[in-house]
């Protein structure tokens, strides 16, 4: 019986130690039936891209509250693309000022979620982003 699950990587790039939001999101996704690979704090963009590849996730969720998103996120997008994972959806949450949003969306970020986002909203957006499943390359 084929059984398909949505696999998501939840990671904290950079040096920021605020991990409550990432944990809240990881648990909410698990409770919605996702398989969540949680890699913990202080991940370099290279570590995140490598984990996304080995785990063959459909979504990479990044939590950034340090203000370093404009350097970290583009780098991760670039690495994913370079390794042939341009179809992976990148979602970010944390403290992302409004003025940075257009640039991030233009770069290909598929969702941005700030403080106070309901987990239901996140789950619906994630489910919407990967269905129908992209054709296998």
């Amino acid at each position: 019986m084929p059984e398909t699950k949505i696999r998501v990587l939840v990671a904290k790039p950079g040096l920021d130690g605020h991990d409550r939001g990432a944990k809240v999101i990881a648990r909410a996704l698990r409770d919605a039936g996702f398989e969540v690979i949680y890699t913990g704090l202080r991940q370099t963009p290279e570590m995140i891209a490598e984990a996304a590849l080995q785990e063959d996730v459909q979504i990479v969720g990044l939590s950034v509250l340090s203000g370093a998103h404009m350097t970290l996120v583009p780098r991760i997008l670039e690495l994913l693309k370079k390794q042939g994972q341009e179809s992976v959806k990148v979602m970010i949450g944390g403290i992302i000022p409004d003025e940075d949003r257009p640039k991030l969306e233009e770069l290909g970020v598929a969702g941005i979620f700030g403080p106070g986002t309901s987990t239901t909203e996140v789950i619906e957006h994630f489910e919407g982003a990967v269905t129908p499943a992209p054709a296998e390359g």
Partner: protein, 310 residues
């Protein structure tokens, strides 16, 4: 290029895709596995089991670092299994948190798996995933089981060498280990040797071992390690290699491979027969039989007898 060919030639993204297809029981995954089957059988499969929090992931991290720092290092794959929530079907797979030192090394491949409801410490598709990694050329494959604290017996059928971990300060560690796990262990490891109580845990284990069945050819060694400071890791790697040699010399490797194939065949056969039987029933007969047992009209055995009659 076909998926099997890409996996064979070291395309990591293709390998990752294949593992997903296998996990999802997809026909393409099965086709590719069958194309790759002739290439399997080269890896040494090492199981790592033990109660939650004993340091399985941290130990795998250290051991792999040690292996990769040797001259002519082996390619190492890690399969880490965590439980699926029985209520939601979702899972948080957190073993990678302790394996951060292994990133950036192309000779290592780490894959997390949810057990998707299977009992016994592994997922139903773990053996397929390990076969794929074997065919892809990984020489050491470390399989971390779910840490349920009970006898993770599946690993005995899936690995050549089984490491069972205990740690000091877990009062019931020895108790748990007695319940079947001692029998499946090829090497007993008391991890967290940097904490007080490791020596006495090792002594308790030795006493428990002496009560168990004796294998005249392989005396299960008890090693002290610290995944924290690295103590005992080289000795552990050496002991695993000794066990590998032992298996080769005694024919134990073929025996274990044979037993693994038997187990896998029986599992698939049962699945296939069950599916076929159910599909052959007229609509609702099986469900009605279940209801009659629930309503205490029939015993389960009689219900099955009836289903087989028509």
């Amino acid at each position: 290029m076909k998926l099997a060919e890409r996996v064979r030639t070291g395309d990591r993204l293709a390998l990752a895709r294949l593992l997903t297809l296998i996990e999802n029981n997809s026909p393409e995954g099965q086709d590719t596995l069958s194309e790759l089957h002739a290439l399997t059988g080269r890896a040494h499969r090492i199981g790592v089991t033990g109660a939650p929090g004993t340091g399985k992931s941290a130990l795998v991290n250290r051991l792999t670092q040690h292996l990769r720092a040797q001259d002519d290092p082996p390619f190492v794959a890690i399969v880490a299994v965590d439980p699926t929530s029985p209520f939601t079907g979702g899972a948080i797979l957190g073993d990678r948190i302790r394996m951060r030192d292994l990133s950036g090394d192309p000779g290592i491949f780490i894959r997390s798996m949810a057990n998707r409801g299977a009992l016994g410490g592994l997922a139903g598709t773990t053996s397929g995933v390990v076969d794929a990694l074997d065919a892809a050329g990984f020489q050491w494959i470390l399989i971390e089981t779910v840490g349920t604290g009970q006898a993770e017996v599946d690993i005995a059928g899936a690995a050549h060498t089984v490491l069972v971990l205990g740690a000091p300060g877990m009062g019931d560690a020895v108790q748990t280990l007695k319940a079947g796990v001692l029998e499946i262990s090829d090497i007993l490891v008391v991890n967290k040797s940097d904490l007080p109580g490791a020596e006495s845990a090792a002594r308790a284990l030795r006493a428990a071992l002496e009560l168990g069945p004796v294998d005249s050819e392989w005396m299960t060694p008890i090693l002290l390690t610290s995944a924290d400071n690295g103590d005992g890791i080289p000795e552990l790697a050496a002991k695993i290699s000794t066990h590998m040699e032992h298996l080769k010399k005694t024919g134990g490797r073929e025996e274990r491979d044979h037993a693994r194939v038997v187990g896998e065949m029986e599992r698939l056969l049962q699945q296939r027969l069950t599916d076929r039987f159910k599909a052959a029933q007229s609509d609702g007969d099986y469900e009605r039989a279940i209801e009659r047992v629930v309503d205490r009209e029939l015993s389960p055995m009689r219900a099955i007898d009836e289903l087989f009659q028509d």
